[in-house]
Symmetry: C2
Subunit: 308 residues, 2 copies
Amino acid sequence: MSETKIIFNTITIIGAGLIGSSLARAIKRGKLAETLVLCDQDLPTLDEAKSLALADVYEIDARLAVEDADLVVYAIPVGVIATVGEIVSANLKTGAIISDVGSVKKTVLDALTPFIPDGVHLVPGHPVAGTEQSGPSAGFASLFDDRWCILTPDTQTDDAAVQKVEDFWRAIGSKVEIMDAEHHDLVLAITSHVPHLIAYNIVGTASDLEAVTRSEVIKYSAGGFRDFTRIAASDPTMWRDVFLNNKEAVLEMLGRFSEDLTALQRAIRWGDGDALFDLFSRTRDIRRKIIDAGQETADADFGRSNEN
Amino acid sequence: MSETKIIFNTITIIGAGLIGSSLARAIKRGKLAETLVLCDQDLPTLDEAKSLALADVYEIDARLAVEDADLVVYAIPVGVIATVGEIVSANLKTGAIISDVGSVKKTVLDALTPFIPDGVHLVPGHPVAGTEQSGPSAGFASLFDDRWCILTPDTQTDDAAVQKVEDFWRAIGSKVEIMDAEHHDLVLAITSHVPHLIAYNIVGTASDLEAVTRSEVIKYSAGGFRDFTRIAASDPTMWRDVFLNNKEAVLEMLGRFSEDLTALQRAIRWGDGDALFDLFSRTRDIRRKIIDAGQETADADFGRSNEN
C-alpha cells in the first residue's frame, strides 16, 4: 500500500453492510478522508455501525448525507442504486464524484446517468472482494487489500475524476483496472455470477432429495459440498439483483456451462475415462495460475483441514 | 480422541498418497500399531515417504507388504483396488482384515469380495476428508480429526471385524457411521461427486471462452470462481475412477441438478426475482447447520480474507 493521503475531504458511504462497513474501516485505517459520513436507511444497522465507531457522522437520510460529500459511494444492492441516485440528485455538491461497489456495471451506469447533475462525475466501480457474511459487524479493513477494483466509467467521463477514484482505491490497498462496463459484466458472469448461481442451485437440489436426508447432507459435507454452501450463504437480496441486472451475460455463460456439463454427463454414461481425465488434468493448471497471481493461498483447503 | 491403544499389531497401508500418508501419520501420532508397513508401487513416491519417516517398513511389492498384516488398508484409486486385491490374495494372513478409503463403495465391495480368502474379513471404509493436494508430502496427521468415516460392510461380515475397524477409526480421531454401500454411493454423489463434477466443469467452461481471456478469469477469480478451482485441482485419476464407478447415482443426482438449474435459468430470463430470492434465502440455512454440526468454521471466507 502506498503512503496514506487525503484524496477527498468528505466521503459519504451509502449503505453500512459488509462492503460499506469494510470500506469505512479501510478509509479510517488509511486516514483517507477528513470527514467520513456513513448512511443507512435502516436504523438498527446505522446504530450498529455507530457502536462500532466506523465513521465521523451517521445519517439516516441519504439527501442530508451527501450534501458535503466530495465522493459518494453507493454500497447498496444494485437494484436500488438508481432509486437512491434520483432521491439525492438535487443535493449533490458541484464537483462531487459518484461511485458504487455494485457487482453489475452496465445497468448501474445506464440507470444512474440521468440523475447525475452537470458538474458531477460518475465513476462506477466494483471491488472484487467479499465474504458470505452480511452487516456492519462482518466487515474488516483488509477486505480489499491486494484485490482488484474494476472501474467502468463512460468514455466521456472527466479524466481527472477517474484518476481520483483510481488513486482512492489504490490508497485503500487495491489494484485497479479500467474496463468497459459491458465487458466487466461478461467477465464477472463467469468468474462470479454463474459460480454463485450453481452453488445456490446444488444446495437447493441437495435439500430437496427424498432418498438422502438433510442430516446426511450436512454430516458428509466435507467431501466438497460445504464449499458450495459458503457461496450459497451470500446475501439473497444482493444476488437476486445481480441476476436480474446481468441477465444476458449470465444466460450466455450458463448456456455454455450446461452444454459442457451435458458432454461430461455423456462421458460418464458411456464410460469415457479419457475425456474425464483430460478435463480434470487441464483444470489443475488454472488453480496454479490463480495462486501464482496472488489471488489465493496454496495452503491445503485454505488451511481449514489443519485447524484441529 | 479416546485414549490411544494398539488395535492391530501390524498395519499395512497400500498407497502413500495424500490419504495413505495422512493415515500413516495419524497411526504414528496415536501409536496405534506395533509395526506400520507402507507400500507404494511407485519408487519415487515410496522414497519420498521414507524420507518423511512415515512408517516402520517400506515395501514396493504389495504381496510382501501384506504378509504379516492384521489390517490392510487400500489407499489407492478405486479403479485399481480389485487388481491389487487379486494380486495379494494368496499372501493374506488368516484373520486379517481388509479395508480401503475409496470414495465409492458398492463397486469396491463387489469387485474385492471374490478375492477375500476364507478367514479374512472385508470391511470397506470411506473417510470423508481430503484436500486438493496429492502425494506423501501433502498429508498431515489431523486430516481425519472430527471427520466422518463411513464403513460399508456386507451384512454377512463378522461383527468383531467391523467393530475393530470402527475402534481403529475412532482411535484415529474420526466419527464412524455404518451404512449400506449403495446408500453411501447415493449420499456421496450429492455431497461430493456432483460438486466435484460441476467444479471441474465450470473451470473447463471458463478456460474455453473467447470473449473473456484466461488472464481475466484468473485476475477476478476472488468473486467466487476460485473456490471451484480448488475443488477442480483434485487428483484426476482418483476422480475419473469415482465417476466411472458411481455412474448410476451420479447421473441421477446430475439429472436433478440440471432440472433445477433450468428452472433457475427460466426465472432469470423472465425476471422472476421472488423465485431467486426464495431459493437464495433457503440455502443460507443449510450453511448454518453445517457450521453447527462442526463440519465447518464460521470464519468469513475461512479467514482467507483476513490473511493480509
